[in-house]
Symmetry: C2
Subunit: 202 residues, 2 copies
Amino acid sequence: MGRREDKREDLKARLLEAARDRIERDGVANLRARDVTQDAGCALGGLYSAYTDLNDLIIHVNSTTLKALEQSLALAGVKDRSPTDRLRNLGQGYLKFAMANRNLWKALFEHALPADTPSPQWHLDEHLFLLSIIAEPLRELQPEMSDEDRAVRARTLFGAVHGIISITLEARFVGLPPERLERELDEIIIMIAAGAAVMRRD
Amino acid sequence: MGRREDKREDLKARLLEAARDRIERDGVANLRARDVTQDAGCALGGLYSAYTDLNDLIIHVNSTTLKALEQSLALAGVKDRSPTDRLRNLGQGYLKFAMANRNLWKALFEHALPADTPSPQWHLDEHLFLLSIIAEPLRELQPEMSDEDRAVRARTLFGAVHGIISITLEARFVGLPPERLERELDEIIIMIAAGAAVMRRD
DNA sequence: GAAAAATATTGAACGATGTTCAAAATAATT
DNA sequence: AATTATTTTGAACATCGTTCAATATTTTTC
């Protein structure tokens, strides 16, 4: 009987949910092994039978967050026709997601894992998939660009968008009203899209 | 005699230098109270007589880093005449500084301090001064913009530049050759500057 | 179905870490 | 020189993540 596997899966799921809730509420920096295991209803050591690490558990939470983000962006990316508007929608979708899921979103990036144990490849691939969503409208905007150049540009664009949102939501500086942030982000994306379109004609 | 004060200042300076060296070498995440105090030649508790906290010490290191960054940017910001080229120089200067001082630069932003003890105002002001350096060329680019809007735009621009550099240097994704990153950054800044110049005529 | 083997779960113990604070050392004052 | 004020010290504490022998549970064997 697969009773063993079932219990194992159940424990993993309970830990994942507990960790997700904790991160959402208190931020990833305040996640404690003793808290999650208590919430999940297992002993402290149980965490290390289900996941290799607390880091590993966080990576799995981040994986679910990325999937949710991708779903949000899939909705935002198809409504309009022009590639510029698709990029604008993606930017606004990303901003909306970040505001609605601040701590989970922050955990995606502020989770600094030890230098000797980088993220596993499957999780890096999830990040790359996110970039491919951005690359798609870029293809229409600059069809003559090579795939590699487009991938680089997608990363650049994502970095810019992410940086703009980060610096505001991090509250390191005085906060902006949300609608003001939306406008700033939108204008920058329009500028970059326009710049890309202009370069086509060089 | 002011022997007391002198010794105190000396201890603070030694701790600051030791912490700076450690952060530069191993990153802020690997800074240990026991290591810095040993390097500085004082007992563990000495740290807490010179600074309130390990966080406080890190903030003071970050302060020196910001001053060094400002000096780099001051050099980069005046060479050329046109505001667009000044922004480009600032961007390249920021990138050069980040690459040459990775761990110190990363410490400026990845240092997540506890929610109940935010950065002191004097340190926030140092960050704001950095933004004012960017705002200056923007004034020429969009003279009719209000000071407040310009400050917001400067923050947006900084966020974009910072995000582009971060996402590449963090090595979360596959690394870019430096000269490629320079080009990407430069092109984006040109686009945004061009966009700003166009908006003048609306 | 009961005994044996295999596996999973537990939580006390360990090593690191930031921080505190009474005692010892040092400096300033009388 | 004695007394007072201040600083420096480092052992002790609380809080972490992680380990692992002991216990409990599940699966297999006969």
